[in-house]
Each structure stands twice: as C-alpha cells, then as structure tokens.
C-alpha cells in the first residue's frame, strides 16, 4: 500500500466510511443522528452553561459595573465611564507594578520550567532512591504557601537570619534580602521559582514518560549527539505539554497574590508590588473599589491575549 493510499485510508476511517463504501447513505443517516445528537447535547449542556454563566457571568458583570462607577464595596456609586481606567493607566504606580509583574512572570515561568525540566530529565535516569527524591522535590509545591513564606522570611529577613549570616561569614557583606529593593525583587522571584518548579517537573515528567525510548535508540544509531537528541527529539515531543505548562504558569504568576504579599507585602517602597497586589491594596486598603477593579480587568484582558497566543502555539505544535 502506497503512502497516499494509507493516508486516504486513515481519513476514511476517521470519517467512519467502510472500505469500498461511498459513505453517502451513511452520511444521510449520520446527519439525521447528528441533528438529534446536537439537540440532546444542547439540553444536556444547558444546565452546565447556565451554571457557568451564573458563576462567572454575574461577578464579571458586577465587576464591570464597579469598574465604571465611583462607589465602594457597599454602594455602587455614580457612573464615571472610563475614568477609573484612565486614572489607573496614567498612574506611575500601575506601570511600575506592571513592569514588576512582567519580570516576575518571565522569571517565574521560565525559571521554574528550566529547573523543572532539568530535574525531570535527571529523575528519568536511574538514580538511587529516585522515588524518594521525587516526593521530596514536590514539597515546595505541596507545603502551604503561608508556611513556606514564613520559613523564607526567617531565612532572609534580618541581618542575623541564616542566609545573611552565611554571606557575612563568607566575607560577602550582609545583604538585606527583603529591605533592598533590587534584592527584594530577586528574592521574591527566586521564591516563586522554588515554589513552582515541582509543578513544571511533574508536567514535563508526564510528557517524557510518553516518549518512546526507541526513538532515542534510533537517533543514537544515526549518530545524533545527546544535545541533538535533546533539542531535536525531546523538546519537540514535549512541546505541547510545555506550552500548556507555560500558559498555566503565566496565569499562576500574574495572579499570584500570597507569594508576594506574605513575603514582602509589596515593599520595600513598592519594589515588589505586582498588579494583583496593587489591585488588592487599592480596593481593601485605600477602599477605592473602582480603580482596583479596573486594574483587575486590565490584568484579565492581558492574560486572555497571552493565553490565546500560547494556545495557538499549542495548535501549531500539534499540527507539526
């Protein structure tokens, strides 16, 4: 059988056409069934759709109302149109927070992906007590963020904490990891990578498990180096999972409130204030509901755009 015949055979099989059949009569019956099925699916899906609209639609509409009014948590207030959005978009604090959110997301997504990928590849090799290592490596993801942020605080907060003491004893001065704006930003990002890499490791491990090892054997026989195998086989084969994990981690990073708020509160002097922290503080500390919700809206729109771009990459990688 030629390759063309094979492909058309697969296509016919996917359409449900038997070998030698035209598919026409079956197609008519199918279209009748399909109309019935569509109606059935519609009625079966309706409760879920109604529920979803209620769960997501009402808060979204109410948030839109709040973002266009000058009220507070109790009163809707007066309609102000796009004034809250204008206030937010002309505020230096918003752009500073947006800039930090961008860096936090880039480092959070790719940092955790790189660490997760490295560990997933390492754990794929036969190492003693590999299962125990897997469990231990999951701990940062499993431990409640309140506990891990408290632990990190005690590790770095004061000049006499463990890590600054270590630096001092090594003759490297006494870095103030949470008090210096640049160091605080780096510390928060490192903390985010530490919290998130187990998730990436699990995603990549699952993807790697589905890769047939004979592909590597064949590549080896063809003379491919380890690096070539990694870049030409491993990465393309796990691309779908990689894009999905990037989408999810981007959403996790942009919406991450506790990691930042519990460790630095957004300080010092707003150095680690992300958009979600800014939105929270605007609504619940300044009691300015309209501008705070406007920030949340802008975040959502940005996330949707990023998700769509990455989702297209997934489809592209599937086609390839």
């Amino acid at each position: 059988m030629s390759s063309t015949t094979t492909e058309s055979g697969f296509a016919r099989a996917r359409r449900g056409v038997a070998p030698g059949g035209s598919g026409t009569a079956h197609g008519n019956r199918k279209s009748k069934l399909s109309a019935q099925a569509t109606r059935t699916f519609f009625w079966l899906l309706l409760p879920s759709v109604v529920l979803l609209v209620l769960i997501h639609g009402y808060p979204l509409i109410y948030a839109a109302i709040q973002a266009t009014h000058d009220g507070d948590l109790l009163q809707t207030g007066n309609f102000v149109g796009g004034q809250n959005f204008a206030t937010v978009l002309t505020s230096p604090a918003f752009w500073k927070a947006a800039q930090f959110t961008l860096w936090f997301t880039i480092v959070g997504v790719f940092g955790s992906w790189l660490v997760g990928l490295g560990l997933a590849l390492l754990l794929r090799t036969r190492i003693p007590a590999g299962g125990t290592f897997k469990v231990l490596l999951l701990l940062p993801w499993v431990v409640p963020i309140v506990v891990s942020s408290t632990a990190w605080n005690w590790l770095v907060a004061t000049p006499d904490s463990l890590i600054p003491s270590l630096f001092r004893n090594l003759g490297m001065g006494t870095p103030l990891f949470l008090a210096d704006p640049s160091l605080a930003s780096i510390t928060v990002m490192v903390f985010k990578v530490w919290v998130s890499f187990p998730f990436m490791m699990m995603m990549i491990s699952a993807a790697l498990a589905s890769v047939d090892t004979t592909v590597y054997e064949a590549a080896s026989m063809d003379g491919a180096s380890r690096w070539q195998q990694f870049t030409q086989i491993t990465l393309p084969l796990i691309a779908r999972s990689t894009y999905i994990s990037w989408i999810l981690m981007t959403i996790f990073c942009v919406n991450d409130f506790p990691t930042i708020y519990l460790l630095t509160g957004g300080g010092p002097v707003n150095a680690t204030t992300s958009l979600v922290v800014l939105a929270y503080r605007t609504v619940f500390q300044d009691f300015a509901t309209g501008p705070g919700v406007a920030i949340a809206f802008l975040m959502t729109m940005t996330l949707v755009v990023i998700s769509v771009i990455l989702y297209r990459q997934i489809r592209k990688s599937s086609v390839e």
Binding site: L74, Q75, D160, P268, A288
Partner: protein, 442 residues
Amino acid sequence: MNASSEQRRSFNRRGFLGLTAAAAAAPLLAACGGGSASQGGGGGGAGGTVKFWDMPWATPAYNDAAKGIAEGFSGANGAKASYQIIQWNNFYQTFSSAIASKTGPAVSTGGGFQAFQFEQQGQIAYADKVIEKLKANGQFDDFLPGVLDPFKSDKGYVAVPWQLDMRVFWYRKSLFEKANVALPTDWPSLLEAGKALKKVGAFGFTTGAGAGNNYANHSMIMMMVNNGGGVWNKDGELDLMNDRNVEAMEFVLELVSNGIVDPAAVSYTTDNMSAQWKDGKAGYGLFQVNVPQRVGDTSGDLLVADPIKGPHGDKATIVFPNNIMMYTNTPSQEASEEFLVYYLGQLKQLWQKKLMSALPVFKSITEIPEFANDPNNVKIVKDWQPIAKTFAAQGSRLNANLAALDGGQALNQFSQTIITGKADAKTALQTFQSGLESVLKK
C-alpha cells in the same frame, strides 16, 4: 438619581441575590434536618437573638472568654446573643458583604474606623441611648478621660470604646546600662541615646514596615503628633505640609542617617520586630501594651519609657480606641442596646483573666490587681494615656477617611520612604499628601 436611591438600588440587587440563594438553599438545609431560622442581626424569640461579631483581639483564650460573656446575655423579652469570630483577613469585605445581604451582625467589634465607614452608608445605629444607660448605671463616669469624645458625631455616638490600643516607647534597661546612657527625655537626648546604643550593637528607634506591619506608620504619625503636628488640622482638613511635620520627619531622617534605625526595618514583620526586641537588638522604640508577654521576655528588662518632649515642648502619642458598634439591621434595637450595656459591664473579666493586650477604657479595670500589679501598665495609664491622641489629630473627632489613612498605600509608602532615607522630608510629605488626596472621600 441621588446617592440614597443609588444605595437602595445596590442593596436591593444584593438583597435579591441573597434571597434567591437562601430560597435555593432552603430545601437542602431542610433535608439536612433541624435547620434554624436566620435573619440579619439575629432572629429567634420575642426579644430576638442579637448577633455579636468579634475579632481575634488576642489569643484564642480571649475569644473563648468573650463568647462566654456574650452567650451569658439574657435580656428583657427573652433576648439572647450569639457569638461569632471574624478573622482580620479581608474583614472589611466580610462585614460589607454580610451587611449588604442583610446577614450581618447586630453588634460588633471591628476595625478602628469601621463604624464611621458604615455610618456614612447609613448602616450604624447611634449609641446615644446606650450612653444614657451608662450614665444611669454609673459606668459613664468610669470612662478614662477623653476616650468617648472622638466617637461623638453631629448625629450622635457612632460607637462606644472598649479598649485602647496605645503606642508607647519601650526600652531594654540592660542595653542602656551597657551603653552608659540616660533614657531620652526629648529629641536631642533620643538622638544621643541612639548613637550610644549603636555602639553596643542595638538600635535606638526600633520599628518595622514589612508585610502587615503598621508600626513604622504609627511611629511616623506619632513623631508628627509629638511635635504638635499631625495629618489633619483642627478643622479635620488634610494638613501634611505643616512646619511641625516637616521638622519631625527631618528628625527621623537624621536618626536614619545616623544608623539609629535598623536598615532592614523596612521589611520587618511584627514577628521580626518582636525577635529584635527579644534578641537584644532593639534598645528603644514604639510598640504596643504588654510587650514583654508578646516578645516572650518577662525578666523585667523590658520597660515602658517616659514620654519625650518635642522641640517645642509638645508631648503626645497616638492611640487607637477600639470600639463596639451597633447596626441598624437588628431584630430589636432595644435588645442591641441592652446587650451592649451588658457586655461593657462584663469587660472586667477579660483583664482579670489577663487576656488583653490593650488598655481598658474604664478606670475601675485599671485598678484591679491583675492589671495594676504590672508597673508597665500603671505607667502607661498614668503617663501616656493622658497625652494620647487619635489618628485624627490635630482634629478631635474620628471619621471614615481615617480608614484610608491607617494601613493605606499612601502612608505605607511614605513610612517606607522615610525609614530607608530615600527622599527628603518635604518631598516625602508632598507625595504622601498627593497619595492621600487621591483616595479620600470628598
């Protein structure tokens, strides 16, 4: 459409949703067996059940004791009270949602300025009749001087104070002895003491501005008030750029530049601050009542200092008079008032059991042995309470705008800017003023 009709519309929509949810949930609740009627503020018998919401003001033992007091209430017409703890996390949202859906409390403690926020929205029942009853039973005369005045508005008493969260200077005696320096009595001696403490590895102006820590905010406002300044003028208008404030912040910046403020303080949580006090790194600084118990050092080395004089002879600190408020949504206003009078009459138990980390508002409680045996407590009542002013200083009445000041972004950023020495006093105050103006309700 005016504000009140807009407000009504908002309530109706939320009320409708609450009703729909309740109607949907009713069969489920019935199926679970038992079930109980519930309405906002309470429900139950002829006098109703007064819903009392309380915050975790101290250890869980405090809430157990407060619950015992609340549930011991038995009013006329068979009125009872129920007790519920509300966590501090997102407490304003918790109260707002509950009040909007008519499932809120009839009486509650809460944030220091919460009563004024809800008063603005027509949700607070004025406490004038409670004050009348306190006058009748003698408790009115038992209030410490000046604690009730900040709650009086043009329409009546918005709430009734029940404890005072005071800010006072504490010091570690052994560090002052080691540094061979006298306790500060004014700003120049505070600077000298700070320099001497620095030589023995301690800080002379201990504070913190990390996650959830407002002590740096309070220290800044305290220094302004201690110099006869403050965020507001006597008419309650924003007045941050006055000369006294500039002078106060220039002095704090001098402390910073001399290394008297811990350079890591900007990131200190309250736990980090407590650790600095416990580890002998903090020699002097503003903190709350009961620091030895909080820090875990009851050796007698941590003591309340004397108030200090500003350069113009002013002597003042700040206090947060925590209060109990009544809401208009209640099964019976009489029952709410009766409960509040009853609860205020039982407060002594909480200090007798040593459950509180704040000053009482009643003179009689300051005299009970469990409170008066601690010389730090006695000193605070004698020397600090009479000079304490609220966040409204130099104004005299509390208001809803103070909620946006206390813990708001403008003050946080200002305090962090000052204790890191990132800007001069005038620039920092100007930014603070602009930030505050943008969030204050006109």
